[in-house]
C-alpha cells in the first residue's frame, strides 16, 4: 500500500470511528445515569475527526486554519465556561447559529469555486447553504431576544407573504444556479436573501415560543451539515448532520405538541396578535402573607412545586432547593412538576433545578405527576402562568385551549408566587389565580422563597 493510500485509509477509519462515537454518545445521553459519559464519547469522536482532517490530501492554508480554530475555540471555551445556567438557552442558540453559518460558508466556497459540477452537487450545496444561512441569522435573532438585546417582537401585516416572497426569490436564484446559470453576484444575492429570511422569520416570534424555535434551528443546522457532507463526500458529516436533523425535528415536534400547536402555528401566527383576552375572570385575587404561606406548607403532607420562567428570571432555584430541604426535614413530601415548555428551551427548568442540586428523581414530567395534584396539600407555583391555566381545559374559545397543563388547580391549596398582577405571555387571564383555593404571594421569586424559608426555620 502506498503512503497516500494508507493515509486515506486512516482518514476513513477515523471518520467511521467518529460517527460511531457520536451515535453511541447521543444514545448514552438519553438516560440520566449514563448522560455525562455520553458527551465525552461524542467529544472524543470530534477530537479524532478534527485531528485526522489535518492529514486530508490536497490541502493548504494550514496557518489560517489553525489560527481560525484557535480563535473560535478559545472564544467559545471562555464564554461556555462563564455563562450562568439561566443564560443557557441563548448560548445554545448562539453556538447552533455558528454551526449553521459554517455550513453556509462551505456551500459558498464550493459554489464560488465553480468548475462544472453535476446538478445534484450544486443542488445539495444550494440547499445546505440556504438552510444553514437561515439557521445562522435566525439563531442570532433568537440569541438577541433571549439575551434581552431585542426586546420587541416585530410584526407587521403581510409578514408571512413577505417571508414567502423572500424564500421564493432565494429559491429561484438557487434553481438558476443548479441549472448552470448565474455567477458570483447571484451566489451572493442568494445568501443575502437567505440571511434576511432568517431575520424576518424569527423577529415576530415571542419569548415563550423559543423552546420550539431553538430546537427547530438545531435540527436545521444538522440538516445543512448533512447536505454539505454530501457535497464534500464526507460520510461522518452526512451521518452526524442527519442524525441531529432527525432527532432535532422530533424534539421540535414534542415541544409544539406540548403547547397543542402546530409548528406552522408557532412560526407564522404571531401569537400575541391573535390572542383576544378571554372572558373576564370571575372572583377576586386573594393575596397571602409569606408567613401564612410558609405555615401552610410546613404543616402539609405533600407539596408539589411548579416552576416556570419566572423562577429563572428571579434566579430563585437555589432558594427553592433550600426550601425543599427544610420541608423534607420536617417530613413533608416535596415533588417538582415540570411542564415540557416551561422556560425558554426544552428542559430549561430541569437544568436550573439540577444546578441548584435538586436530585432528578424528585422531578416529574406532566404525565407522571398530573394525577397526584389531587392528593397534594399545597401546589406552589413559582413564576409559571399559562402552563397552569385551567382555561386550557375548560374554554374552547381560549387561544391556549387544548394545551396540556399541570393541574395545580386540583391541589387542596394553591400558592402562586408572582411579581405583580398581569397576564401571562399569551395575554390571557389565568383563572387559577381567581379560584377559591388559590392565594397570591406577590413579590420577587427569590425574595419570597427566602421569606418562606425564614419563617419555617423559626417554627
Amino acid at each position: 500500500m502506498s503512503a497516500a493510500a494508507a493515509g486515506n485509509l486512516a482518514i476513513q477509519v477515523s471518520y467511521y470511528v467518529a460517527a460511531f462515537l457520536f451515535i453511541m454518545g447521543l444514545k448514552r445521553m438519553s438516560s440520566p445515569v449514563t448522560a455525562a459519559s455520553g458527551i465525552r464519547w461524542a467529544g472524543l469522536g470530534m477530537l479524532v475527526a478534527t485531528l485526522i482532517t489535518f492529514a486530508y490530501p490536497g490541502m493548504g492554508n494550514y496557518l489560517l486554519m489553525t489560527t481560525a480554530i484557535f480563535i473560535g475555540g478559545v472564544l467559545a471555551w471562555w464564554t461556555g465556561k462563564r455563562v450562568p445556567m439561566t443564560d443557557m438557552p441563548q448560548m445554545i442558540a448562539l453556538y447552533n447559529g455558528m454551526g449553521g453559518g459554517a455550513a453556509a460558508t462551505i456551500s459558498a466556497i464550493e459554489l464560488l469555486k465553480g468548475g462544472g459540477h453535476s446538478e445534484v452537487f450544486v443542488a445539495l450545496a444550494v440547499l445546505g447553504g440556504l438552510i444553514g444561512s437561515v439557521s445562522f441569522s435566525g439563531s442570532l435573532i433568537a440569541f438577541g431576544k433571549l439575551q434581552g438585546l431585542i426586546r420587541r417582537s416585530i410584526r407587521f401585516r403581510g409578514q408571512n407573504i413577505v417571508n414567502l416572497l423572500i424564500l421564493l426569490a432565494a429559491a429561484g436564484i438557487g434553481a438558476s444556479l443548479i441549472a448552470g446559470n448565474g455567477g458570483q453576484q447571484s451566489i451572493v444575492a442568494m445568501f443575502l436573501l437567505a440571511l434576511l429570511l432568517g431575520l424576518t422569520m424569527t423577529l415576530p416570534i415571542g419569548g415563550a415560543d423559543m423552546p420550539v424555535v431553538i430546537s427547530l434551528y438545531n435540527a436545521l443546522t444538522g440538516l445543512a451539515v448533512g447536505f454539505e457532507g454530501f457535497v464534500l463526500n464526507n460520510a461522518a458529516m452526512i451521518i452526524a448532520g442527519t442524525v441531529v436533523g432527525s432527532a432535532g425535528s422530533l424534539l421540535t415536534q414534542l415541544m409544539a405538541k406540548a403547547m397543542n400547536r402546530s409548528l406552522a402555528n408557532v412560526l407564522f401566527s404571531g401569537f400575541g396578535e391573535t390572542a383576544v383576552a378571554g372572558g373576564e375572570a370571575r372572583g377576586s385575587l386573594k393575596p397571602i402573607e409569606a408567613a401564612d404561606a410558609a405555615i401552610m406548607m410546613a404543616f402539609a403532607q405533600k407539596v408539589i412545586i411548579v416552576p416556570g420562567y419566572g423562577m429563572a428570571v428571579a434566579q430563585a432555584q437555589h432558594k427553592v432547593w433550600e426550601l425543599t430541604q427544610l420541608l423534607t426535614e420536617r417530613g413533608v413530601q416535596v415533588k417538582f412538576a415540570i411542564h415540557p415548555v416551561a422556560g425558554r428551551m426544552p428542559g430549561h427548568m430541569n437544568v436550573l433545578l439540577a444546578e441548584a442540586g435538586v436530585p432528578y428523581d424528585l422531578i416529574y414530567d406532566l404525565d407522571e405527576i398530573n394525577a397526584e395534584f389531587e392528593t397534594a396539600d399545597v401546589a406552589l407555583v413559582i413564576g409559571a402562568n399559562d402552563v397552569v391555566n385551567p382555561v386550557a381545559r375548560s374554554d374552547p374559545s381560549s387561544p391556549i385551549y387544548g394545551m396540556p397543563i399541570l393541574n395545580a388547580d386540583k391541589a387542596k391549596n394553591c400558592i402562586v408566587i408572582k411579581r405583580g398582577q398581569g397576564a401571562g405571555f399569551s395575554g390571557i387571564e389565568n383563572e387559577l389565580f381567581y379560584l377559591d383555593n388559590t392565594r397570591m404571594l406577590y413579590g420577587d421569586g427569590q425574595a419570597m422563597v427566602n421569606e418562606l424559608i425564614q419563617t419555617i426555620k423559626e417554627l
Binding site: Y56, M88, I106, N233, I238, G347, N350
Partner: protein, 99 residues
Amino acid sequence: MIELSAFAALYIFMLAAFTGYEVIARVPAILHTPLMSGSNFVHGIVLVGAMVALGQADSVLTQCIGFAGVVLAAGNAVGGYVVTERMLEMFRSSKEPGS
C-alpha cells in the same frame, strides 16, 4: 478519497435519519436540554468540512469565507461541548453519595 456513490449516500442518509429518531424517541423530558445541547455539539462536525473547504480554497475571497467558516465551526464544536458537559455534570440522583 473513497467516492461515495449517490445511492450509497442516500442509504446513509435514510439510515442515519432513522437512527436519530430512535435514539431520541424515548428520552425523558429532564434530559431535553442536555440532549439538544449535545446534538448541537454533534453537528459541530461541520468543523471537519469547514477545514477541508478552507484547505482547498485558492482565492483570497474563498480563503476569507473559509476562515470565517472555521472560526464559526470551531465555536460550535467547542462551545457545544463545554455547555453540554457543564449541564450533564449537574444531574445527579438523590441516592448517589456526595449529592
